[in-house]
Each structure stands twice: as structure tokens, then as C-alpha cells.
């Protein structure tokens, strides 16, 4: 397993979040750009769109909630699926770089703040603690990893739990 089994509350949460982020990236590994963008289901679910969405959501939860400046995000008040769609003008490298920046941003916030620090969810919602935000990001990333498992298997038959081979 890539994370640690023992340690402080924060160590364990961060390790688990990182592991699931790594799974998301791994689920795209070896695919063509076309496959990464292919809608595997009627709802249009595709792997690259999921990564874009998760990057935007990390910025939203860790940045907007704790009043920290973020780069422009792909949200649209009038289109709730905007962050899930990848346009022809957005390269795969751009999306993966976006996710890498989002992770690094979130990790920095986590290292700077205590788990009890609170903020308004996304800058406008109910109060949430950093502890709650990290736990939610773990469940959301893992949930999308589950979608990615299914989409990847339907695309080319590849299955697998963790990049380390467990």
C-alpha cells in the first residue's frame, strides 16, 4: 500500500488522499487521448473529464473554503457539468498539469492549517473544518476512482486496485 498504516490523524488522512489521487492518474496511464475522452456511458462520463473535475473540486474545497486565492476554475453557474467536460482545445497535458497543480495547492493548505480550522464551504456555504474537507475529498476521489475502474475496464479490459500492484 502507498500510504502509511500508522501515524497521526493528519498523516493518515493525507496519505489516503494521495493514494486515491495516484489511482486516478494511474487509470489513464497507457490510454490514447481519444480513449481518455471517450464517453463510456450514456451520461457522458469519461476519464479525462473526471480528472478535470477533481482538480477543480480540490481548488474549490481547499482554496475557496479557507479564503485562499486560486487560479481560474472551470465552473459555470449556468452549466453544472462544465467542469466535467474537456474541450478539443484543452490538451491532455493541460488537464493532467491542472490536477498536479491542484494537488500541490491542496497539500500546501493542509500543511499550513490545523485540522480544526473552519471556513465557509466554497466561500459561501455552511461552516466546514479542514478535517471534514480532507475526509470528503478522500471519499469523492475514491468514488471517482470507482467510476474510473469501471470505465477503464470497459475501454480496454484493464483492471487493478493500486498502482503498486496490491
Amino acid at each position: 500500500m502507498g500510504d502509511q498504516y500508522t501515524g497521526s490523524e493528519k498523516d493518515i488522512l493525507v496519505g489516503m488522499l494521495d493514494k486515491n489521487r495516484d489511482v486516478m492518474v494511474w487509470k489513464l496511464d497507457g490510454l490514447t487521448d481519444e480513449q481518455m475522452r471517450e464517453a463510456a456511458l450514456p451520461s457522458g462520463t469519461n476519464l479525462l473529464g473526471m480528472v478535470k473535475h477533481l482538480a477543480a473540486v480540490e481548488y474549490g474545497w481547499f482554496g475557496l473554503t479557507f479564503d485562499i486565492e486560486v487560479e481560474p476554475l472551470p465552473f459555470d453557474e449556468d452549466d453544472e457539468d462544465a467542469d466535467l467536460r474537456v474541450g478539443a482545445d484543452e490538451s491532455t497535458e493541460d488537464i493532467l498539469a491542472f490536477y498536479a497543480r491542484a494537488r500541490a495547492f491542496a497539500d500546501n493548505v493542509i500543511s499550513e492549517l490545523s485540522l480544526d480550522t473552519t471556513g465557509k464551504a466554497w466561500g459561501r456555504g455552511p461552516e466546514r473544518s479542514l478535517r471534514w474537507v480532507i475526509a470528503h475529498m478522500i471519499e469523492e476521489t475514491a468514488r471517482h476512482a470507482g467510476h474510473a475502474d469501471a470505465v477503464r475496464e470497459l475501454l480496454d479490459g484493464t483492471t487493478g486496485y493500486l498502482p503498486s500492484g496490491d
Binding site: M1, S43, A142, R143, A150
Partner: protein
């Protein structure tokens, strides 16, 4: 399903319990309204079905929360089967699997109540903290909820992230 957790001021246990419970509830919800046949159907070569996913998770809960601490688990021939409960038996029904899952999750919660988050158990790779186990069950239940999302959408088009909260 009570969800009155003080989200901002949630303690470590409250936060972990909240996310674990909501994901367990999602798994139950993804079976809701299906026929026995639909619950056993799989869209993927690996054979993953909604019934299999819930049964698997029941045994995963027992494995981590009980076996890591030398606590007893129910006697059941399916614990010997490869895949740790993914393949439902002929005799399994939605009702029997949901009952197993309800018992497993109650036993998990009792283990945390009894031993606390600082308790250290053992698995084949070495020591493992109870707080890691709770977090791991959140990630694993959520990951399987992701599988369940896809399978359910393909079974009958039903989609949804969280079950409706009766308290809201």
C-alpha cells in the same frame, strides 16, 4: 438515518463515522427497488454485481474491524471463497445480504466504541491503526459506491450521489 453531525466542529470520530455511514448508506440505496435478477447482473467481464459488491463490503468490514483485533466474525462458508465475497451464493438474496451488511457495520462501530481510534491492530503486513482502518473503509466503500453508480446506471438508468436525507 440521523445526520445531525456538527460538521464544522466534528471530532475525528464524528467526521470519520459520518463519511463511513454515508457511503454505507449509498451502497444500500444502490440496491433499493431492484429485482433479485437485477441485483446479480454484471455489465463487466470481472462479474461485479450490486449484490456482490455489498456482500464483499460486509466481509471487508468484518476482516478489518474484527480480525485485525482478534475479535470474532460469523461462521460462513463464503469467507473461504476467492474474491472475498464478491460472488453471491445461490442462497443469497438482497434481504439476506443487506442483513449481513447491517450486522457487519454494527459490529464495526462497536469495535471502534470498544477500542478507540488509537487502538493498533495487526494485519499480514504489520501494525495498523484503528483510525487508518476507519479511513480505509471510507475509501473502499466509496470506491465500491463508484462501481455501484455505474452498475446501477446500466441496470435501470437510476443515478444519484447520496440517498435523500430524511432529516433535511
Amino acid at each position: 438515518m440521523e445526520r445531525r453531525v456538527p460538521m464544522a466542529g466534528a471530532t475525528e470520530r464524528e467526521a470519520l463515522q459520518y463519511f463511513l455511514d454515508v457511503n454505507r448508506d449509498v451502497m444500500v440505496w444502490k440496491l433499493d427497488g431492484l429485482t433479485e435478477q437485477q441485483a446479480r447482473w454484471s455489465p463487466v467481464p470481472s462479474g461485479t454485481s450490486l449484490l456482490g459488491l455489498v456482500k464483499h463490503l460486509a466481509w471487508v468490514e468484518y476482516g478489518w474491524f474484527q480480525l485485525s483485533f482478534d475479535r470474532p466474525i460469523p461462521e460462513d462458508e463464503t469467507t473461504e471463497i476467492d474474491g472475498f465475497g464478491f460472488e453471491p451464493l445461490e442462497s443469497d438474496t438482497i434481504e439476506s445480504v443487506l442483513a449481513l451488511y447491517a450486522e457487519a457495520r454494527a459490529a464495526s462501530d462497536a469495535a471502534v466504541d470498544d477500542l478507540g481510534l488509537d487502538a493498533v491492530g495487526m494485519d499480514e503486513d504489520g501494525p495498523v491503526d484503528m483510525r487508518w482502518i476507519m479511513g480505509h473503509l471510507i475509501e473502499e466503500t466509496a470506491r465500491h459506491a463508484g462501481h455501484a453508480d455505474i452498475v446501477r446506471e446500466l441496470v435501470d438508468g437510476t443515478k444519484g450521489y447520496y440517498p435523500p436525507d430524511p432529516t433535511s
